[in-house]
């Protein structure tokens, strides 16, 4: 049996725009990954707990409300606190270009803005999955 890559697709924040997150979840399933989808309005604490219980390799965050500079780093910090900093974080949504360097510095390794082909997300996972193999 081969090792399966597990990815949590989570939506922090208060917006209810989940089409993007659902699209990504579905596309990653079709790419052969095991995707856990938890729905909208998840707190950073719930996302981190879920990531740990599900023992995921990646967490993909989707947020369209503008609170990314607040919530994404908070999730990275909580993961570190729980000793789960081997989980790779990426994000997407309506995120201004100017915010991306800040988010990367905070440990969100890739940001996929609207219009990104799904192939780029898959390439990102493929390029990094060796790092999270256990």
């Amino acid at each position: 049996m081969t090792e399966k890559i597990r990815i949590l697709v989570a939506k922090p924040g208060l917006d209810g725009h989940d089409r993007g997150a659902k699209y990504v979840a579905r596309a990653l399933k079709d790419a052969g990954y095991e995707v856990i989808y938890t729905g909208i309005r998840q707190t950073p604490e719930a996302i981190v707990k879920t990531a740990i219980q599900e023992d995921v390799n990646f967490v993909g965050l989707s947020l369209l409300s503008g609170a990314h500079n607040e919530l994404f780093p908070r999730i990275a910090e909580l993961l570190r606190k729980e000793g789960a900093d081997d989980v790779i974080l990426f994000g997407g949504g309506v995120i201004p270009e100017d915010d991306i360097p800040f988010l990367k510095a905070k440990g969100i390794e890739a940001i996929f803005t609207p219009g990104t082909p799904i192939r780029k997300v898959i390439d990102f996972i493929e390029a990094n999955k060796q790092r999270v193999s256990r």
Binding site: D30, G32, V35, E45, R134
Partner: protein, 319 residues
Amino acid sequence: MTELAQKILAGNTRSIARAISHVENDREGREALIDELYPHCGKAIVWGITGPPGAGKSSLVDRLIERLRTRGKSVAVIAVDPSSPFTGGALLGDRLRMQKHAVDDGVFIRSMASRGHLGGLAGATADALRIFDAAGFDYILVETIGVGQTEIEIMGLSDIVLLVLVPGAGDEIQALKAGVMEIGDIFIINKRDLDGADKLRVQVEYVLGIKFAEQSDQMNPILMTSAINDEGVDDLMDSIGEYVERMKASGKLANRREQRLQDEIKTILSAKIFAAFHDFMQMNGEIDTLVQEIVHDKQKPYALINAKIDGFIKEMHTK
């Protein structure tokens, strides 16, 4: 004892989660780990929750977690969803209905993909169950994939099976058929606010009435719930409690657990024998040769296959 096993026994979340990945991926040390944990198993009560897709299994599990938490019990949930037969990928969405328990330290929810395993569960579900059991959870709730008629493996894994049905899935002939309809301990008609719920109740009563014509006191309870509206759940909890007490008193629970162990030993044995035979055939490229011999050389298939198996048994002897 290994450090991992120690941490599991201490209830460490990270270690439990990691250990389940170990058994799911069949990593080295899987069998030794389970053997280490095994003496600490047997304390948890296991509820199986099964039924067709969209019946409301996850929403009901959400309510059951709520009730068990109010009683101060710790709860582990294993929620199985299907893997794609084409890509091997899976969308695990059961825990979406249970996320309000995500930050509760007394609740551990783990999604599992079936990974090609038939029967309504994942191949590693039994081992995951043991990990939770050893970790000291009071209750383990196992939710199957949405089942059709033959995915009855949950019966061999749980102390009690809750069969969740919904109105609108066919007439009483469907309910008379063999398979899933036979494995329920407690029958739950969820979405009781929908049209046809009462009719379904009558149909289920009819079917069970035939089965228990001679001993109507033994008939399985039928409960009507609406998980979303939180209706009928307390009655369901009472009914489960009474049923389990009855099973304990009659010795049925102990029997069932023994039967479970028997089934499991058989499953593991056949899996191991199959794997050994598979290796044996692979090694010699035998399947291709067999096909050649049957198609081109017009050999008799059963005679050939029996000869192969004899060869395999002889080789096992000499090992």
